[in-house]
Symmetry: C2
Subunit: 455 residues, 2 copies
């Protein structure tokens, strides 16, 4: 038997005491958020209307490399962290590869994903500021569930706008949120001006993430004692998620293991940005080199086929503009797309790093993703979320290459969550009803044409 | 901060290398299984028609206190074990109790429960015997899922008869089993003689566990290279599940903690028997004393209102007779009962121990169980299975008593699984549509009258 156990758990005392702020080590900082009206950088005061004060500070802080994790958040982390760093012995054997495969598994909590890492931080700062509650949007439901759990813990109100098609197709996700005391509204709704407008224009719409964001922001801004919180894309979210990478690196360091490549799925970038953070820090500082690979769905290819430009973060165009790889804020993946990661844009931080050549990106079709998911489930015993399975697919591909070349590469990938609430997608896959629609260049050009004109 | 961490994980090297066979330390051994025709003890040869040879040996072995866990099973255990022993700091604080609450959490695997501990062992022995596949029944789906995972790992066929009402109401459970390559048939089915008979007599029946057992046994016995496996009740299952208690005790011992009471939910007894095993061993040997409390649903009260007698294990009356606390093999809990633990009987081993005064039993109504479940979810962050929530309910009650008396008791309970596939029950609870039907003495007397006459 190898000396490295199947699962590496850090001791409580080894858990990170500070988040790592990747931006501090970037020479080219991510471009600032802009006011959508004036196209000037958003000030702390402007952002403070929407977000909690402390989170605004974190959003704007691109100089401090470490930001202390408050004790209350560390205590909550102790309930479900450290997450295991798993050596995929069974998968390696199955693939007959000399590669060494590790994955950081973030699904062992009731929210089912890494989203809880930022949810609890955002709820904490909201509580500390004396707020009554927060609003947010959720698509597949992982973020909404995580936020509901965090708000229940701190006894904050939690109002979730859930994309209508998910609200109807995922009643169990909704029910988990209710268990945690959240109110869940299908979006678009008649509760907001933007919702009413969209419903008037498109009475049969099943909603979109961009639209739900607009509604959540409207309610937060218009309600005394409320703020809006977001589960991905933002710098603050990547900051909180750095706990994933910090734990993973500490666990590998304990055994003297250095990954050759780090692979993560990318939707808005929260998981990938968190997983790679300390490794990318070393790379930026010239202390080490790693291949870093973002994996996105072929049906929503913001890195691989998007434009690096300022764009709206939401459909209603009430949010600040962010400079990012984007497909255009009107872009919605084909309805048959089951694999999550549906956001039109990408974290500004990751976009800048990709633009500067610090990481690679690859897009994969969803049938291949589900094939990898099923193989992984049968071999490693964990039923993965469709999102996470994008990373699995590329990790398996890389391990197979090693089997051909005989190279003993060390692969680390992020297993962001479990697929227990995604069985409708698995059913489609089993029944052969899944296809691999990929947008044409013409379609993408149409959406790209809607990017805002910047002076 | 206390010195005891939120979660105690054993090192891989500290994981149990042998299961503990509680029966070896019992003065009054559990009564043997009887041939339903002759009322004579089942021989190994007779049992070998239905079960794998090695499992028959384990079933009949009431003398060896330790049985080595084969390396292949220990390797599989390493993928999802050790399970955490959690100190419920947040719950203690919420209850404002001086009690110290610990729970052994078995839900952090894709099967969502402790059932995997025995599934992998049973699949291993089937593979080792050169069998092609196994059959089983599943109600709520936890056992079927666990067995599917185990069979996928060892590349065995897996045929699951799923109680029809669950098959229809829990399509996601079914889909998880399909992901692991199992074939899932709603029971009663037209694939067996017993199924055909039951369907002819009761065309609209939604099935029962006892009926699904009969179908699974019929197929196993009638198909070359197949055997039947069962997820609870049997001695072999309790043996495998002892890994729960052995890990829990090792974790507590590391910190010098001795529980005053141990609480577990009880359906067929697999979780409870496993959790208490090494503690009960000490009690039987006179080395220590513990309060041991079985918690069952008020709607299916085999311990608290059943009869200690020989009874059929299945509806079709094809299985051996077992001496146990039973409500009668025709008993089915009211259809509104959502909390699992629906089996009419109880493990012979646990029945004997209860009969001899080594443990207590209490029954709880389901609304109170779901109230405890929700409080636990909001405080400890884990959404519990309805079954597990029976133990939570009594643990909270005991902790509240300590808050009144000021006693600093140490409570250990078993958190057997997660409730992600039980959201229909949670929805009922949230919508106020759950009630607390409890069978009348007259009803129970009717079922008890169906117990087989023994000479």
């Amino acid at each position: 038997m190898s000396e490295i156990p199947y699962k590496i758990y850090l001791e409580e005392s080894e858990m990170p005491k500070a988040w790592y702020n990747l931006r501090a080590d970037m020479k080219n900082k991510p471009a600032p958020l802009l006011n959508p009206g004036t196209h000037q950088p958003m000030t702390a005061a402007e952002l403070g209307v929407v977000f909690c004060d402390e989170l605004v500070k974190q959003e704007l802080n691109d100089t401090d490399p470490y930001i202390e994790i408050p004790q209350e958040i560390r205590d909550f982390y102790k309930m479900y962290r450290p997450s295991p760093l798993v050596r995929a012995y069974c998968l390696e054997k199955k693939l007959n590869t000399p590669a060494k495969i590790y994955y950081k598994f973030e699904g062992n909590n009731t929210s089912g994903s890494h989203k809880l890492n930022s949810a609890i931080a955002q709820a904490y700062y909201a509580k500390k500021q004396g707020l009554k509650g927060v609003t947010t949007e959720t698509g597949a439901g992982q973020w909404g569930t995580a936020l509901s759990m965090a708000c229940a813990y701190f006894e904050l109100d939690c109002k979730v706008f859930m994309v209508k098609v998910s609200y109807e197709q995922k009643p169990f996700r909704r029910e988990v949120m209710r268990t945690y005391g959240a109110s869940v509204t299908p979006s678009p709704s008649m509760e907001t001006e933007i919702g009413k407008k969209i419903l008037a224009e498109h009475p049969g719409t099943t909603g979109s993430l961009g639209c739900a964001i607009s509604e959540a922001v409207e309610v937060a801004v218009g309600t005394e004692g409320y703020r809006y919180v977001l589960g991905s894309v933002l710098n603050q979210v990547l900051l909180h998620q750095s706990v994933i990478g910090l734990e993973a690196k500490a666990a590998l360091d304990k055994y003297g293991v250095k990954p050759d490549m780090i692979i993560g799925c990318a939707g808005g970038g929260s998981n990938l940005g968190g997983l790679i953070a300390p490794f990318m820090g070393e790379k930026l500082r010239g202390e080490a080199d790693y291949r870093i690979i973002a994996v996105e769905p072929a049906s929503c290819p913001s890195f691989t086929r998007g434009t690096f430009a300022y764009d709206f973060c939401d459909t209603g165009m009430v949010c600040p503009l962010a400079k990012m790889y984007t497909l255009g804020s009107g872009f919605i993946p084909a309805p048959n797309h089951a694999g999550g990661l549906r956001y039109h844009g990408m974290s500004s931080t990751l976009s800048q790093l990709y633009h500067d050549g610090y990481m690679e990106a690859v897009s994969v079709p969803q049938t291949a993703v589900f094939e990898a998911a099923e193989q992984f489930a049968r071999t490693e015993g964990i039923l993965p979320a469709p999102e996470s399975s994008h990373a699995i697919k590329v990790a398996i591909d890389e391990a197979k290459k090693c089997a051909e070349t005989g190279e003993e590469k060390t692969i680390l990938f992020g297993l962001t969550g479990t697929g227990y609430f995604d069985m409708v997608a698995y059913e489609k896959f089993h029944d052969g009803k899944m296809d691999d629609y990929i947008p044409t260049d013409e379609e993408l050009a149409q959406y790209a044409a809607t990017l805002p004109k910047m002076d």
